[in-house]
Symmetry: C2
Subunit: 640 residues, 2 copies
């Protein structure tokens, strides 16, 4: 209701609390922009995208001295009514690009109408993700060409982006240029362009297109995992994983590097197979979500240094020999098509930086997911694979190292070891008196001594023991007095008798001793370098970190003593880091800066590391600190 006697009115925006007086007739979106209130719009105020929806807070606001009412906005006009009909606009919602100020009013901007949204953290994740993707859609109306005006279509698009979105100095890749003319004419001179980093047009569609998608990819040596995300909401639409097909060239990383060393042309082969798998994975996600693959405009990648190099088509040979030199330790941007990924032909891939020759872009992803530099207390973040990547510190100083644990924790080099798959023993308990074992296998909820176990156990049978099973077996064997503190045992300990016994051998215990000593010594080295004697919290990243029981890891002396309640799984933190870099371009600047600043410790070159390694071999190596554990896992005080 326009008050004839008023020239302007007060508008208060919540939740920001920003307020100002505006001339009667000012569109709300314009008022918001002039105050710096965050309201999204893809269509640029044409009542087409509906991103700028707001609603009026009704009633008296004594604090502001006004009575707010929806009648103090203009009545919905033709465009807005049309939008409301077509897209089922919620009751009370208004398009802020169309509703004009007609009197004092308080406006609530819902989270979904803000450019800078947040994705709530998932279990295991350390913090919410702010949404600020590197690629943004912009709807534009482009002037028509004329006989006497020889400007190219691209030049008139640049002019429209400058005039309608204040974007200047843009460039445009060839794949988009090949499609622009048709898009313009199909859209009757209205198109949506995807602009990357405010400086490059990477895609274009006829008409309005307000949703763009990206995929965050974690290239592990065993598994490749990918998450298809809505770049506006941050929502994960689909996730999927496949085995890394490079496994056929070598189960673990070093055997793949050896393969390349012995077959110098084969890094191309390893590159080809992994790229092909990623392409299939990504296109599969698009299909599953019912998207056109051209709607996927950005990829992010994490992976250990060898996966990183092979993905990019760089030989991993230098990573297999001292001094373990990376080809490039900055982040890398390439086009998706250079990697053979058949999404939008203008799309880019952002590969997080590697930290050092053994501390990869996966560790950078973990850092980004965990942000230990935000905290006062000392965090230890461990990602266990063939190498354990160790991150330690707080807001004052962060250190990174890699320790050569070898593949024992993944079940390799263990007589009955196997990958975590159906049939693998994953939990073990040993009776302290009878020394009889009981266990659980993957694929069955019952313990081996539960009634009905034999009926419910996986069809494949009991096939072996996976990483977390080995940890528990040896820790329980120690707690039951079967393993002595120096690691010696009297003959094989059979967990499961059958056609082929599943047993823990002396060699198995030695392999785990070496692996856990490497990890522990690496942590000790960083603690010494950092000058701390105690860790305040421990985050275990990766699949292995999610599976192992922290108690047993501590019994075994894999990780240093720490309040058990302060030990937790960080989930697939590397993948989370890739997702953060996908959804937030500022996170890229952040991790590039942090990776430059983090202090890299080369365990192989550190004096004293060998001593720590030898010292860490015993089980447990710091018995006096196990008081807390004693209550929870029945430490063998009598027998030790």
């Amino acid at each position: 209701m326009r008050s004839a006697d008023k020239q302007d009115a007060l508008v208060v925006f919540s939740p920001s609390g920003k307020r100002g007086r505006f001339a009667i007739g000012t569109p709300l979106l314009q008022a918001a922009r002039s105050l710096g209130v965050d309201i999204d719009s893809v269509c640029g105020g044409r009542a087409m995208c509906g991103h700028c929806q707001v609603h009026v807070t009704e009633g008296a606001l004594p604090k502001h001295g006004i009575v707010s009412t929806s009648e103090n906005l203009s009545a919905p006009g033709e465009h807005e009514q049309q939008f409301a009909k077509q897209f089922d606009l919620d009751e009370g919602r208004r398009l802020s690009c169309r509703a004009t100020v007609e009197g004092d009013v308080a406006i609530d901007v819902p989270a979904t109408s803000q450019v800078l949204q947040q994705v709530i953290r998932k279990p295991g994740e350390a913090h919410d993700i702010a949404i600020h993707p590197v690629v943004q859609p912009h709807f534009i109306e482009v002037s028509k060409p004329e006989l006497n005006q020889p400007d190219g279509d691209l030049q008139r698009i640049y002019a429209a982006l400058e005039q309608q979105w204040q974007l200047r100095g843009l460039s445009c890749g060839l794949p988009v240029q090949q499609r622009l003319q048709q898009a313009l004419r199909e859209g009757d001179w209205q198109i949506t362009v995807a602009v990357r980093n405010d400086n490059r047009i990477i895609a274009a569609w006829p008409g309005l297109r307000d949703r763009l998608y990206g995929v965050a990819i974690d290239v592990g040596s065993t598994t490749i995992a990918a998450h298809l995300c809505d770049l506006r909401s941050g929502e994960v639409l689909e996730s999927s994983g496949v085995m890394n097909p490079q496994i056929r060239f070598g189960e673990d990383l070093m055997s793949r590097v050896s393969y390349v060393m012995e077959n110098p042309e084969s890094e191309q082969e390893l590159t080809t197979v992994v790229r092909r798998s990623i392409n299939e994975l990504v296109l599969g996600l698009a299909d599953a979500a019912g998207l056109d693959r051209n709607e996927i405009v950005e990829l992010t990648f994490v992976g250990n240094p060898i996966m990183h190099h092979l993905l990019l088509g760089i030989s991993p040979v230098e990573l297999g020999r001292a001094p373990f030199t990376l080809a490039n330790n900055s982040s890398i941007e390439v086009t998706a098509s250079e990697l053979g990924i058949g999404i939008n032909p203008g799309a880019y891939a952002y590969v997080l930086p590697c930290i050092a020759g053994h501390v990869g872009a996966d560790a950078a992803g973990v850092l980004l997911a965990e942000e230990p530099w935000e905290r006062d207390d000392i965090s230890l973040v461990v990602d266990v694979g063939t190498n354990a990547e160790i991150l330690l510190g707080n807001k004052e100083r962060m250190l990174a190292a890699s320790s050569p644990t070898g593949p024992a924790f993944e079940g390799a080099q263990i007589s009955a070891g196997q990958r975590a798959a159906a049939g693998a023993i994953e939990r073990v308990r040993i009776d302290r008196e009878t020394l009889e074992p009981r266990y659980k296998v993957i694929g069955c909820d019952l313990w081996s001594d539960d009634p009905g176990f034999d009926d419910q156990r996986p069809e494949v049978g009991i096939t072996g023991i996976c990483g977390s099973g080995i940890i528990e077996a040896i820790a329980e064997m120690y707690l039951a007095g079967i393993v002595r503190p120096n690691g010696s045992i009297d003959g094989d300990y059979v967990l499961h008798a059958g056609d082929q016994n599943i047993a823990i051998t002396q060699a198995d215990v030695r392999a785990i001793q070496l692996a856990k000593a490497a990890l522990y010594a690496g942590v000790c080295l960083l603690m010494a370098e950092r000058g701390v004697e105690r860790i305040d919290r421990i985050r275990l990243a990766g699949a292995f970190g999610a599976q192992i029981d922290a108690k047993y890891a501590m019994v075994l002396g894999m990780i240093p003593d720490c309040d058990l309640s302060a030990v937790s799984s960080a989930g697939n933190a590397a993948g989370t880091g890739a997702r953060i870099a996908l959804l937030n371009k500022d996170a890229r600047t952040l991790i590039e800066d942090r990776v430059r600043r983090i202090e890299k410790i080369e365990t192989a070159a550190a004096p004293g590391f060998q001593d720590m390694y030898v010292e860490a071999m015993g089980i447990p190596h710091l018995v006096h600190e196990f008081t807390q554990l004693a209550t929870s896992v029945d430490l063998p005080k009598a027998k030790a």
Copy 2:
């Protein structure tokens, strides 16, 4: 000879005349750099590349008050002697990076030791070419990696380029990154990197590499021509041409566009075949010159708008219908690999800008070769093809237009017309009394009435008449009174009787009348727009321009009256323009700027063009100005 009593000495450089006093012991190269004297060096002063050779001017220089002698330089040391032995250094030449100042001396810097060299113009070319290529080789020594120093190889290369060449803010494409580690180790931490535009590493080789190469390519609708150039000397090492394979989709441009319109998927086909031909052409040049194809690091392209779009994989459909909108009227840079050209994988291609929908990057090349904006007098530059591209003006103001001459000048739409190839009649004379013709054919030096012509004529026989032959035939027919000023003739005029007569028909004369009227009217339109009544000089570009006799073109009224001595062939000016853009990066900035500023006149939209067109149909249309021609070609004053 070091003078014990002197602290410094005078050094005079020629031809620059720059002089300064330098401390005894200063290397000449350093002295030159501090004075801004242009001396080249790829190896950065390591006595390896030999680019910095100079020699001493011996004797008294009264003007400078010194006596210059080679004894006032340090004696050649070990490195320099080694270089002299290995590379046969000319007597008296010294490496300025090694020779130090020991007393007063005058130094001559030969042209071959300067960074900014010039290529002397070839016949037909308008000016010399200054050499300043966009890609420069830089030799660097890179620090070795260390266990405790996690910098990637690329980062240490960046550091070396900053320290040794003052290059900052560099980027590096993936193809180079894939090869860097091996190059570094093969070169024992000495490599040469090719840096483009001082901001991007595009290639790398182990050790010292001081020659890089590029190819300038003119994509014509009939022929694709390419010139392989040494980017340092500017020398053309090899040139070659192939037929444009798109011809099978349509002889002339518009029929190719029609083909694409009727077969919407076929622009990819046309793109594929032309790229494949270019690739073969370029690799053939490398083989012929004995080069590794990886040594070719830059390409430049010119072509008419339709060739330009098809090369880039952009549909030409919009260029075939009003308002003839270009996809992009700026210059375009893409990687050579995006165009499927298998040279150095880091190489780029620079495509000159199109001027308007009918005035292409070929016309931009012509402009760059001709630089009519450098002159006070009014130039007319014409490139005749299916469309005539017309450039007119001087330093004050330049205009460009295209006129739809159609393919008649190329022999199409002419009853006996054919391309300029062996067997085609290219010269015609008609006896003014007997009206008997005589002619010359391509592939034979004799006239048809010379003794022995029948023995020496090409094996294919007399197969037709090419563009220049048609011009001469009709002009001679007019001069002999066979063609009336309005273009009418009394029946076919037989040039060659045989199984199939080669004759000029009434329809042929009409086709040429229409074509020449279009060209002439286009020129008139620009003259009117430019406000000039007379042209001072005419340059005829392209193959057709090189073949036709200007006298006959003037008799026919193709081009306006002009002092015959001021009419000349510009050779393949479009190709020359591509070569200039290849050898000199400043020329790119120049042409981009000039193309923006040139005034584009759309003949189809110009009021008055139709009138001019109709008026220009007669032969000759301006009889009163033909006094000069009368003396040289025997104008038919009596019969006219």
